[in-house]
């Protein structure tokens, strides 16, 4: 049997619709963030497809009638070729536990699962390298805290949370979300955090990774405008944190700011409390939810700062952020004016 493989780029709306129809026929919903689809056709009919979104392979499907024909492996060969051509060598795949073996035969290794419904696999040993890297920063104490932050941008609210965590802990590990999907670039976010927290002595600032709130572990975090919440992903992300990352650093606590405004983050916080303490072979991690500090009767948050930026109200930003953040915003806003 011979199949014809071709690529469907993001721009090809008509052909993308055909892929969408095919996916629906096998009960899958098309991910909007897929950049390129690879499809296999037989007699002008789509019989298999697979998509590439960043470094994640998604929406991989085969027509029922084609299973067992070796088509899955041909499709994966094509899909991997496309991914490598795009310079993406370290890949992830989300799939159902039933297909773990198929992907293992394509060189993928199991990382973690969620609710026995979704598993995450990768084609490198990078999680092992990352774990080894983390172990170098271990500090043993009674209370070892952790915080995961995007800081888009860093505000006095963030500063308060970190200060509180440092006061209550022997040591604190702060992870900065690495994915460049936010208004402020990772490089800038990291720099602002670093400069604004230099005085705290019992703190390690870590660059995030693919394994901590990234497009691989938690894709819905980055499309929260759509208010899409998928507990499968929040669970996946939290399982990786508890079972893979926290043990390397001996983490006993995780600190979060309470979240009255953003639905996705609030959901994440609530699920965190449940999952990080649930009985398991790994030690529980206590979740401490801290209140937000307020200014002018409203909580200080990064979204408030971004809104003020949009409205060009620079003076009102000053009392909400530390000096390095203010300096960067002032610079960004003056540049914008020049353009206008």
């Amino acid at each position: 049997m011979s199949f014809i493989f071709s690529e469907v780029p993001h721009t090809s709306t008509v052909r993308r619709q055909k892929v969408k129809n095919f996916l629906q026929s096998v009960d899958l919903e098309m991910s909007e963030d897929v950049e390129i689809f690879v499809i296999a056709k037989e007699d002008d009919r789509i019989v298999a497809c697979g998509g590439l979104s960043g470094k994640v392979l998604k929406n991989i499907a085969l027509d029922e009638s084609m299973r067992g024909e070796g088509l899955a492996l041909s499709l994966m060969s094509e899909l991997l070729k496309v991914a490598f051509r795009e310079g993406r060598h370290d890949l992830f795949v989300f799939t159902k536990p039933d297909f773990q073996e198929v992907f293992e035969s394509c060189g993928f290794k199991y990382i973690e699962q969620s609710k026995h419904q979704v598993i995450l696999m990768e084609n490198s040993y990078n999680i092992d390298l990352y774990k080894k890297h983390l172990r170098k920063y271990k500090h043993t104490g009674n209370v070892v805290g952790s915080i995961v932050m995007n800081c888009n941008p860093f505000t006095l609210g963030h500063r308060y949370l970190v200060e509180q965590a440092c006061e209550r802990s022997f040591w604190v590990h702060l992870f900065v979300v690495k994915e460049d999907a936010s208004f402020f670039k990772f490089k800038d976010r990291y720099k602002l955090i670093y400069e604004s927290l230099e005085d705290l002595k019992n703190l390690t600032i870590h660059e995030g990774s693919d394994y901590i709130i990234s497009k691989a572990t938690f894709p819905t975090y980055f499309i929260k405008d759509k208010a899409q919440i998928n507990s499968l992903y929040t669970e996946l992300d939290l399982n990786i944190f508890r079972n893979h990352l926290a043990p390397q650093l001996g983490i006993t606590h995780r600190y979060v700011g309470n979240e009255p405004l953003c639905v996705v983050t609030n959901e994440y916080n609530q699920q965190m409390k449940k999952l990080l303490t649930a009985p398991s072979e790994f030690p529980p991690i206590e979740v401490i939810e801290l209140g937000r500090i307020e200014y002018g009767g409203e909580p200080i948050s990064a979204s408030r700062v971004r809104k003020l930026m949009q409205e060009n109200r620079l003076e009102e930003i000053a009392p909400l952020v530390p000096p390095p953040t203010y300096a960067l915003i002032a610079k960004m806003m003056s540049k914008e004016e020049e353009v206008q």
């Binding site: 070796g70 492996l73 041909s74 994966m76 060969s77 991997l80 070729k81 490598f84 060598h89 293992e104 035969s105 394509c106 060189g107």
Partner: protein, 98 residues
Amino acid sequence: MSKKLETAHAGTLESSDAFVRVIPIDAKGIEIELESSVEEIYGDAIRALVLETVTTMGIEGVKLIVQDKGALDYVIKARVQTAILRALGEPEPDWSVL
């Protein structure tokens, strides 16, 4: 002699073929990661063949990830050679070495 390598691959995952990935590493030496449908019988022979092929080409500081689907010796050898040539960015192999 140490040559500059890029990440590269050759082959497919289909039956009777092998999919070979070449990844430069910081360490010296040659790392081989093999997954084969005939691991039990030919695993060691395949590893030896891959190592020999890479050594003959004078390459060091690489990791090779090989997914073998029951390929014959000369297929594996050809896939490894091609992957390495691609990794070196050389369009023409040095035939005297091969």
